[in-house]
Symmetry: C2
Subunit: 385 residues, 2 copies
DNA sequence: AGGGGTAGAAGAACCGTTTCTCCATGAGAC
DNA sequence: GTCTCATGGAGAAACGGTTCTTCTACCCCT
C-alpha cells in the first residue's frame, strides 16, 4: 500500500484516479491551508487581497469546483426549490394541458435562477423516496388540495412552503392567488354590457380553489341579478370531456347567449360547438374563456380571454419563498426576527399571509356584439379594406 | 455546558433545538449501532429480519429521514439530473413557445421519477454559480449549439451528457434525435401526391440541428425533383416574425401552392395569411406544419401536422442517461464494463452512440385536396398548369 | 479439544466543505 | 520592556450518512 506516501493531508495515494481537484489540492498548490482557501473563495475571513487573488488564481488553474454536496451538508442550504404540481390520473402531472402551468413554471424558474436557486420539478404523487432523497430549501406547490398530506409533512418538517392558489386546509408559509371572484364578476358584467341575456358557465368537477371560487362567484352573480344559472361541469383534466360538455351546454333548452369557459381549451371547443349548432360568434353567442394561449388571437373570430398572468404569479411565489428561506431560519424559532420582523409564521400564529393578484381581460371580437363586421361576408381579399 | 451529558455519540446536548432525528438518534433508540441502522434501512449487511424490522419501526416512529446531502457526499450520487434548454434572447428559456419542449420535459420528468431520479431545470445561460452549486449525476441537453462550452465542460468533468438533437461538435455520451430528413421527405412526397406543384418552406434562421437538417432535406428534395426552392426564413424564437414571414411567403411572385412550416405557430400564421390573400385551404393551398399542439385538430380546416413524438424522445433520452449513470462509473474507466459491454464512451473512442426515432404525420384536411368539399373552386391560381 | 467458518453487529475512516477557535507575529501605547 | 490589539492564517471539529474492516460468539467437523 506504500504507506506514508500521502500527498495533501490524509488521502492515501492508493489508486489515485484522476478525480476533480478538491479544496485540499488547491490549498497544497497555493501553499496555504484549506481554511484560507475557503475564506478566500467565499470572501470571508481576514485576508489581504493579494492572498485572495493568488488562491483564486490557483483554484481557477486547477479547475476547482467546490462539491455541492459537501457544502450543502455543512451549511444546510442546497439552493434547490421544489416545484410541485397537482396530478391528475395516469400521467405524473399535467403541464402542457394548461399553458398556465408552463408559463408559471417558466417564470418561477427564471425568478429562482436570478436569485441563485434552481427548481426541481416534483409531482405531488411521486414516489416518497424521491422526495426524501432531495435536499430542498423550500417548495412551491401549485393549487394544493385540501389537507394535502405532502404539504403538511413538508411544513411540519420545517421546509418553507408557498402555494400558488389559496390553500384550503393545509398550513403554508405564504400563498399567492388571483382574485378569482373579481375576475368572474368582471367578465359577467362585461358580457352583460355586450348584450348578453343569459350567461352560461363551463366549469369543472374538481374541488380546487380556482374552480370552486369561480363557480361560486358565478352563482352569486346569478342570484344577485336574478338569472337562472346555466352551467355544465366536466372533469377538467380530460380534454375530450370538454368538447362534450361544451356541446351539452349549447344543446340545452335554456340555451345561453353567452358563455364563459373556465379552462383553456374551452374556447375552441365552444367555437366548434357553436358552429355545429349554426350559431354565429359573437352575433348569436358571446364567448370568453380563461386561457394563456395566444392562439385565440388568431381564431375566427378572435376570442376574448382572461389571463391569470402566470408569469407574475410564478415570480411572486418564488420570491416569497426565497424571502422565507433566507429571512427565517426555518422552524425552530431560532434566529427569527433577526433581519425580518416576524412576518412569516412567527410560531404558527394566525393565518399565513396571502397575496391577491389581479387578472387581465383581453377583449377580442368574440365578446363584442357591436363589432364592425356585421354580416356573414366572406373573407376579404387583399385588395379591399 | 454540562459536559458528559452526551446522548448518542458525540453531539453535545448544548442548545438541543429540536432538529430532525438523525441516524444516531435512531441507533440509540433502537439500541444498536448506526452501522446496523444504515444496513437495516438500506437492505445491506447480514442482519436477521427481526433486527431489520425493529430498526425500521423505530426509524418510522422517530420520523427519521436520511439527509440527502450526507448521502450524496458519501456515495457520489445525488439522484438529480439537469435538464438544459437552449435559450433565446432575454427570457431564460423558451418553454411554452414550443409545446414540444413542454411535452418532452414532462415525459423526461416522468421517466426520471420512475427510476428514482428528479429533474432540475437549468437554462444553459444561467449563472455559472448555479450550475456549480448543484450536484448533478448527469444532464440532458436539448438541441445544443455547436461547440457549446457548457456541454464540453460538463463532459470533461465526467458528468454524463445525453442530448436531444444530434450534437454538432460537442462531445456527448449519447444522443437521440428524430429522423428529420425522412420526415421532411415524407411530407414533401405527401404534398406532391395531393397535387402540389410548387411546395414552399417556412424555416428558421438559427443553426440548430433541426432547422439545418430539415432545410437541407428540403433543398435536396427540390434538386432531385427539379423544383425551384421557395422558402422564407425568420428567427424562430420571435412569434411575431413568424406571421410576417408567412405573409412574405404567400406574397411572392412565385407563390407556392403548398407550404410546410417548420415551427409550431406556423399553421395558424399561414392559415391567417392565406385568408388575407383569399386563398382557400386546401383548395388553393396545401398546408402542413410541425406541431405538437392539438389545436390544429379544431381549426377550420383542420391542419395536417408532423409530430416529433416528444414524449418518446424525452423518455428515451432520460433512460439512456440513467443507463450511463448507473452502468459506467463516469470518466476514469474504473468499473467500466462490469455490467455493460463498453457501449458508452469506452474511452472516448469513436463517435457517441446515437438513436434516430421516427416521426408521425397526422394527416388532416389541410393537405388533402380530394376532400368532398373541393367541388366549388377553380383549382389553380397562377394561370394555367 | 482444537480449528475453521459464519452470523451478527460494532468501530472507525471517509466524503469535502464551512466555520469556530486559537496561535503567532508585529506595531503601537504605556 | 511589557501589554494590548489587530492582522494573517492554521487546526480541527462538525455536517450526517455509508462502508470497509474487525471482533466476538457460536456451531460444526474431525
Amino acid at each position: 500500500m506504500t504507506a506514508a506516501a500521502n500527498q495533501s493531508g490524509r488521502r492515501p495515494t492508493t489508486s489515485r484516479r484522476l478525480e476533480r481537484a478538491g479544496i485540499r489540492d488547491v490549498a497544497a498548490a497555493a501553499g496555504v491551508s484549506i481554511t484560507t482557501v475557503s475564506d478566500a473563495l467565499n470572501g470571508k475571513g481576514r485576508l489581504p487581497e493579494e492572498t485572495r487573488s493568488r488562491v483564486r488564481e490557483v483554484a481557477e488553474r486547477l479547475g476547482y469546483r467546490p462539491s455541492a454536496a459537501a457544502r450543502t451538508l455543512r451549511t444546510g442550504r442546497s439552493g434547490l426549490i421544489g416545484l410541485t404540481v397537482t396530478t391528475y390520473g395516469e400521467e405524473p402531472f399535467t403541464f402542457t394541458e394548461f399553458a398556465y402551468f408552463a408559463e408559471m413554471a417558466r417564470a418561477a424558474t427564471s425568478a429562482a435562477l436570478s436569485r441563485g436557486y434552481a427548481l426541481v420539478v416534483l409531482p405531488a404523487s411521486s414516489r416518497h423516496d424521491v422526495w426524501g432523497n432531495i435536499a430542498l430549501d423550500g417548495t412551491v406547490v401549485i393549487d394544493p388540495p385540501d389537507q394535502d398530506p405532502l404539504v403538511s409533512e413538508l411544513y411540519r418538517s420545517g421546509v418553507p412552503v408557498v402555494s400558488d392558489g389559496k390553500p384550503g386546509n393545509c398550513p403554508v408559509t405564504a400563498w399567492v392567488d388571483n382574485d378569482h371572484e373579481a375576475a368572474v364578476l368582471n367578465i359577467l358584467d362585461h358580457l352583460s354590457e355586450a348584450g348578453a341575456r343569459r350567461i352560461g358557465l363551463l366549469t369543472g368537477t374538481s374541488t380546487d380553489t380556482y374552480t370552486r371560487l369561480s363557480t361560486e362567484a358565478y352563482l352569486d352573480w346569478c342570484r344577485r341579478v336574478g338569472q337562472e344559472p346555466v352551467y355544465e361541469t366536466y372533469p377538467a383534466h380530460d380534454p375530450a370531456a370538454g368538447a362534450v360538455a361544451a356541446d351539452r351546454l349549447l344543446a340545452r333548452p335554456d340555451r345561453p347567449d353567452a358563455v364563459y369557459g373556465l379552462f383553456d381549451p374551452n374556447g375552441t371547443d365552444l367555437l366548434a360547438a357553436a358552429r355545429r349548432y349554426g350559431m354565429r360568434v359573437p352575433d348569436d353567442l358571446l364567448l370568453v374563456c380563461c386561457s394563456e394561449s395566444d392562439v385565440y388571437a388568431g381564431t375566427e373570430p378572435p376570442i376574448t380571454t382572461l389571463s391569470l398572468k402566470p408569469r407574475r404569479i410564478g415570480t411572486t411565489v418564488v420570491n416569497l419563498l426565497i424571502d422565507a428561506i433566507e429571512g427565517v431560519d426555518s422552524g425552530t424559532g431560532v434566529d427569527v426576527g433577526r433581519l425580518f420582523p416576524p412576518r412569516f409564521r412567527t410560531a404558527s400564529a394566525g393565518p399565513p399571509p396571502g397575496t391577491l393578484m389581479p387578472t387581465e381581460l383581453i377583449v377580442r371580437a368574440s365578446s363584442q356584439r357591436r363589432s364592425p363586421r356585421t354580416t356573414v361576408s366572406p373573407p376579404r381579399l387583399p385588395g379591399e379594406v
